[in-house]
């Protein structure tokens, strides 16, 4: 795999440097640890929103540090959770006396590191809560929902939790709406070509030239099954069936849609998918309030996409439509 990198082992460091150079007005790095934080202070003390995880997912996580979103992120190695110490230092730095909420994804490594950081921060008297995204319908049956991994639906949790904190809600309120975002969000994806970790140079999975992986994870983890490639409409229908059944979403519901490209798949194809989604939602008489299409949570150069639906209530809708201004997520106030 040809990559535009220097040393395969310093990809994350160099990419963070380039990121900081691009958005000096928005973000800065904490000394000694790979943690990025918001530069512009809000005009009032608010709940601090911290996220983080492995790298290779841009715009996640650092692209979402900004007004109405996250206040900081700890940046792990490719596909590998950041150390507890970094999360702890982010927590110390960002707490404004209103407490801190960790919004992250359901992966063993992330959980252990965020929990250790939480323990350390609590020992310093900082109030910390956490909400863990687990939106991937394909990753465990509903009876075992707590074991589901997070994929692109995590973005909806940040949008909601970030807007909530920015609106002045207190820690337990921010936690409450972030949990609502998680409870009401379902995602499922499909992969066609693998990501390649720079340092290993090995593809993350192997598929035949006519195969796709239904339910793939965004580190290239296997999903539910391999299938022969078929039409975009058929694949979309398959994913939508699983998603709609799971919550379940019902006629009359209002939803937001997030169609996430995993890296190499052209935007054009995501719109072909959206065409079918629209049709399906129309048939079910489900109303879409906002549609996000693009690369929101990638997996290096993996090809494929995921569909995320979030069922909205009034407060989720308002928070999702609120203004956001981070380097890689900009939205004018739509409320």
């Amino acid at each position: 795999m040809k990559k535009f990198i220097n040393d395969p082992n310093s990809v994350v460091d160099e990419s963070v440097k380039g990121y900081l150079a691009a958005y000096t007005e928005y973000v800065k790095k904490l000394e000694g640890v790979r943690v990025l934080i918001r530069k512009k202070d809000p005009s009032f003390n608010k709940v601090a929103v911290i996220t983080g995880g492995g790298s290779g997912h841009k715009p996640a996580f650092i692209g979402y540090i900004g007004e109405g979103l996250c206040d900081g992120a700890a940046v792990g190695e490719i596909f590998s959770a950041p150390p507890a110490d970094w999360i702890y230092k982010a927590t110390k730095e960002l707490d404004m006396g209103k407490g801190v909420i960790y919004l992250y994804g359901n992966f063993s490594g992330d959980i252990m590191n965020f929990r250790m950081a939480k323990t350390l921060a609590e020992a310093d008297g900082i109030k910390v809560e956490e909400v863990i995204a687990n939106d991937d319908v394909a990753s465990a049956p509903k009876e075992n929902i707590k074991n589901r991994r997070a994929i692109a639906g995590e973005v909806m949790m940040w949008k909601v939790g970030g807007a909530a904190a920015w609106s002045g809600m207190n820690l337990s309120q921010v936690k409450e709406v972030s949990e609502q975002a998680v409870y009401n969000t379902r995602t499922m994806g499909v992969g066609s070509y693998p990501p390649v970790i720079p340092a290993t140079g090995k593809p993350g999975f192997n598929l035949e030239e006519d195969e796709i992986e239904i339910g793939v994870g965004h580190h290239g983890e296997p999903g539910i099954r391999k299938e022969k490639i078929k039409s975009a409409d058929k694949i979309t229908t398959e994913l939508m069936d699983a998603i709609l059944d799971d919550l379940p979403f019902k006629s009359g519901d209002r939803v937001s849609i997030l169609i996430n490209g995993l890296g190499a798949t052209p935007l054009q194809e995501l719109y072909i998918v959206n065409r079918k989604i629209s049709e399906i939602l129309n048939n079910y008489k489900i109303k879409k309030v906002i549609t996000y299409v693009g690369e929101y949570f990638t997996s290096l150069e993996m090809a494929g996409f995921s569909i995320t639906l979030t069922k909205l209530n009034d407060s989720l809708e308002k928070l999702i439509l609120a203004k956001a201004d981070a380097p890689l997520f900009k939205q004018f106030d739509l409320t």
Partner: protein
């Protein structure tokens, strides 16, 4: 037999070498049912440990373990930071102040590591994790070391560790990234179980050559 602080540092340095040599093997295992990064992270972590140990000049084996654990915990992260890192720190606390260790200290080391991994990660034998390597090792080592020499005890325990590692092949994963694969996680050795085995095997090889030197 006894292991002094310099011996011990060499043991760790040898482990670093073993991990480095097995990078592709670990990558392959983690690609099959995981995300492919285990080898890289372990290699990166142990390389950093090697650097730190060569800079420092520690004669306290407990401190050596704590320093190594902190590298994993504070600089590497991932699942291995807390699991191995936390485990090494726990073992280091237990061995703090010792510049020579003996048969029973080795038990203390690995049982502390195992305990830390289990309490932090919540995995049990049969869940298809490193615990499936470490627990049979610790149990057997304790049994063997009641009557036998260090190296012999270690060898027998290592055999159980290997069985344990291999038993993960037929397991359905219950914990961590691969647990979402259910039936599809079968047929592959767990990468954490494999790296734990490599560490133990390397430890054993070092013990043997230390013993050879001490015999001369």
């Amino acid at each position: 037999m006894k292991i002094d602080a310099i011996n011990f540092t060499n043991i760790i340095i040898n482990i670093a070498g073993t991990i480095e040599d097995n990078l592709d093997y670990l990558t392959e295992l983690d690609t099959e049912i995981g995300d492919g990064d285990h080898g890289i992270n372990m290699a990166k972590g142990f390389k950093r440990i090697k650097e730190k140990l060569s800079e420092a000049d520690i004669l306290d084996i407990g401190e050596t373990l704590i320093l190594s654990g902190k590298v994993l915990l504070n600089e590497i992260g991932g699942a291995m930071g807390p699991l191995y890192g936390g485990g090494l720190i726990k073992a280091g606390v237990a061995l703090k102040g010792k510049n020579t260790i003996y048969k029973n200290d080795i038990y203390t080391l690995f049982s502390s590591l195992l305990e830390s991994v289990k309490s932090l990660g919540g995995a049990r034998v049969g869940d298809k994790t490193m615990v499936d390597t470490l627990e049979p090792f610790v149990v057997e080592y304790r049994r063997q070391s009641e009557g036998n020499e260090t190296v012999d005890s270690f060898r027998e325990a290592l055999a159980k560790a290997k069985e344990g590692m291999e038993s993960t092949r037929d397991m359905i994963s219950k914990v961590g990234r691969s647990s979402r694969l259910l039936e599809r996680s079968k047929g592959h050795i767990d990468v954490g179980a494999a790296s734990s085995y490599l560490i133990l095997e390397s430890f054993y090889n070092s013990l043997k050559s230390i013993m050879d030197q001490q015999d001369n």
